[in-house]
């Protein structure tokens, strides 16, 4: 029961961050939930081993991002229509609706791996080396994916000045 309790504590602490990352990766609220659920089921199945290793975050992140870029998830992403966010949520927070729409649409035009690189680098604030470790690729691949993703964003959403500068 101790393992189950520690798992529940971890989920409670990290659910918001994982959900947001998943949302950025999928661009869809339902798919994001789906992604988080599947990743956490995977984590629960190995929780004893993961928690014994200290900080679970690296492993959980790896599961989440690998699930996202796997062909199965990619196919489901393509097959399923992307739900638009409810306008009320946007209006309540009083943000610039145009910019968010632009960001969402621009992200959709990236490949799953490019999107994963952007989220890890600019949302989770990981270094290139940490990003490479999570995605299981080389630092060079992270760099090239970042460069390609930003180049595509420059074309599709030139108004995203911050992202361009972040390069």
């Amino acid at each position: 029961m101790a393992a189950e309790d520690s798992f529940r504590d971890y989920v409670a602490a990290r659910l918001v961050g994982l959900s947001r990352a998943a949302y950025l990766l999928t661009g869809d609220r339902h798919l994001a939930e789906d992604l988080v659920q599947q990743a956490l089921v995977q984590v629960a199945s190995r929780w004893e081993k993961i928690s014994a290793g200290g900080d679970p975050d690296p492993y959980v992140r790896r599961v989440l991002y690998h699930q996202h870029v796997s062909w199965w998830r990619w196919r489901r992403l393509v097959d399923r229509p992307h739900a638009d966010l409810p306008e009320t949520a946007v209006a309540d927070r009083g943000r610039d609706v145009d910019t968010e729409l632009t960001v969402r649409q621009a992200l959709r035009r990236l490949t799953p791996k490019q999107r994963a690189v952007l989220v890890l680098r600019y949302f989770e604030d990981l270094t290139e080396a940490q990003t490479a470790e999570v995605l299981g690729c080389s630092v060079g691949t992270v760099k090239s994916n970042t460069r390609d993703a930003l180049a595509r964003l420059r074309t599709t959403a030139p108004e995203l000045a911050d992202l361009r500068e972040a390069r």
């Binding site: 189950e4 990352a21 609220r29 939930e33 199945s45 946007v90 968010e100 600019y122 949302f123 992202l163």
Partner: protein
């Protein structure tokens, strides 16, 4: 970066199922089960792959390898692949072929046993006669001169058009095949005994076909109603031929002729049916004598059950005159044909049991009448063939090979896999619905 974080802020925490932990435990159990199944599969493959590889290597092993002929064969599995059927591949040069109806076709089927023990089927159309193996064991020559390459599984028509007739014997160099080509109409003619006859007005031809080019060479035209047996002399210069003559096939003719011109050296016509040319290997290896199979007992017409009561013997006739010159060798069982010679012993296809004439074996007949079984078969085997090169120079008595359960056509694998695939599909669907 600011835009990304603002966009992410729209996401409310994901709703999680109540039994998230339980789902993880179930996944863990499934994963462990998967590991166990995979371990079993690896173990099975580790045991069976060497056997499978041995079958694949069979294609490059020459048929005259010592010890290539097994002492016994088994009936093939119902799902056994045909020659050349993917993914089982060809059996390689044959150690032997036997014929049985105890296959999935429930009709006469050829079963090739490769030199390395691979079993493959040769489909025979309904009523189709048995074919021959070329002396090197590489080809199976089916009716109509269809050549099946046992090392590749490819089949081709030897000549431009099928030549229909009775394949009789290969020349000693293996280049030509003697065929009795039927000229009868397709309307059956009945004799006085109500048995279908060959029309004496349309005698058959004896043709030698070149196995490399398919060219036909007429050796004898119009001398027999039909040909029942032929044997090439060891030097390839002469041919001994036997067949029926006269109205209602009531006569029998034995003739030795020049292999090139067909000019007869001597001919014996007889109405007796109690002696016949022993078969395709009737010439003794020195070329001086001709083996004859003779019997005492019920002659034609004869009820089938009384035919098994015949007392058989092997006789040797002077190849220059046809006169019997040696003491007969008694044969205890029911001989079918002399197919070769080994160290002075005649090698015959043979049924040891009079009560079970369908139990066909290959035996060596000693001069005192004792038989040594070279190849035994299970019940239900009606005929068997061993390539001439192996009969002459190969070894017998190899450990009997078992037909491999893996030498199956693709549909058999699909049939086995289908329930698992359906189960997998159902499980995946249920999992998707649950999540």
């Amino acid at each position: 970066m600011k835009e990304l974080k603002e966009l992410a802020g729209e996401m409310t925490p994901a709703r999680l199922p109540d039994d998230l932990w339980g789902a993880g435990r179930r996944l863990r159990r499934r994963r462990r089960l998967g590991y166990a199944v995979a371990a079993v599969l690896v173990l099975v493959l580790a045991v069976t792959l060497p056997e499978w590889a041995a079958h694949r290597r069979a294609a490059i092993v020459p048929a005259d390898r010592p010890g290539a002929v097994p002492s016994r064969v088994e009936l093939p599995h119902l799902w056994q692949a045909k020659v050349g059927q993917w993914p089982a591949g060809p059996p390689g040069p044959a150690a032997l072929v036997f014929f049985t109806s105890k296959t999935r076709y429930l009709e006469g089927t050829g079963v090739v046993v490769g030199a390395e023990g691979a079993y493959r089927l040769i489909y025979q159309r309904i009523g189709e006669g048995d074919g021959l193996l070329t002396p090197d064991g590489r080809y199976y020559v089916g009716p109509g001169l269809r050549l099946l390459d046992l090392t590749t599984g490819k089949q081709r028509q030897l000549s431009g058009e099928p030549i229909w007739g009775q394949p009789l014997a290969f020349s000693p160099d293996g280049r030509e095949l003697l065929i009795g080509v039927s000229n009868d109409d397709h309307v059956i003619t009945y004799g006085t005994d109500n048995v279908p006859d060959n029309d004496p007005a349309k005698p058959d031809d004896l043709v030698a076909v070149d196995l490399r080019t398919g060219a036909k060479r007429y050796v004898a035209v119009g001398r027999f109603n039909s040909y029942t047996a032929a044997a090439w002399s060891p030097d390839g210069a002469r041919i001994a031929v036997e067949g029926s003559i006269g109205y209602a096939d009531n006569g029998r003719r034995l003739s030795v002729m020049d292999a090139r011109t067909g000019a007869p050296e001597w001919t014996i016509d007889s109405s007796a049916r109690d002696r016949e040319l022993a078969g395709r290997a009737a010439w003794t290896p020195d070329g001086g004598l001709l083996a004859m199979l003779a019997f005492e007992g019920c002659a034609d017409p004869c009820e089938p059950e009384r035919m098994t009561d015949r007392r058989w013997r092997l006789e040797l006739a002077d190849a220059n005159t046809g006169n019997i010159v040696t003491r007969p060798v008694p044969i205890e069982g029911l001989p079918d044909e002399v197919v070769g010679w080994r160290g002075g012993d005649a090698v015959l296809t043979y049924s040891a049991s009079r009560t079970d004439p369908e139990h066909r074996t290959l035996v060596a007949l000693r001069p005192d009448g004792a038989v040594d079984t070279l190849v035994d078969t299970p019940p239900g085997v009606s005929n068997l063939e061993v390539p001439e090169d192996l009969l002459r120079a190969g070894s017998f008595g190899r450990t009997p090979p078992e037909p491999s359960i893996w030498a199956a056509p693709a549909w058999a694998y699909l049939l086995v896999a289908a329930p698992f695939l359906v189960l997998l599909w159902i499980v995946r669907r249920r999992r998707q619905r649950r999540v």
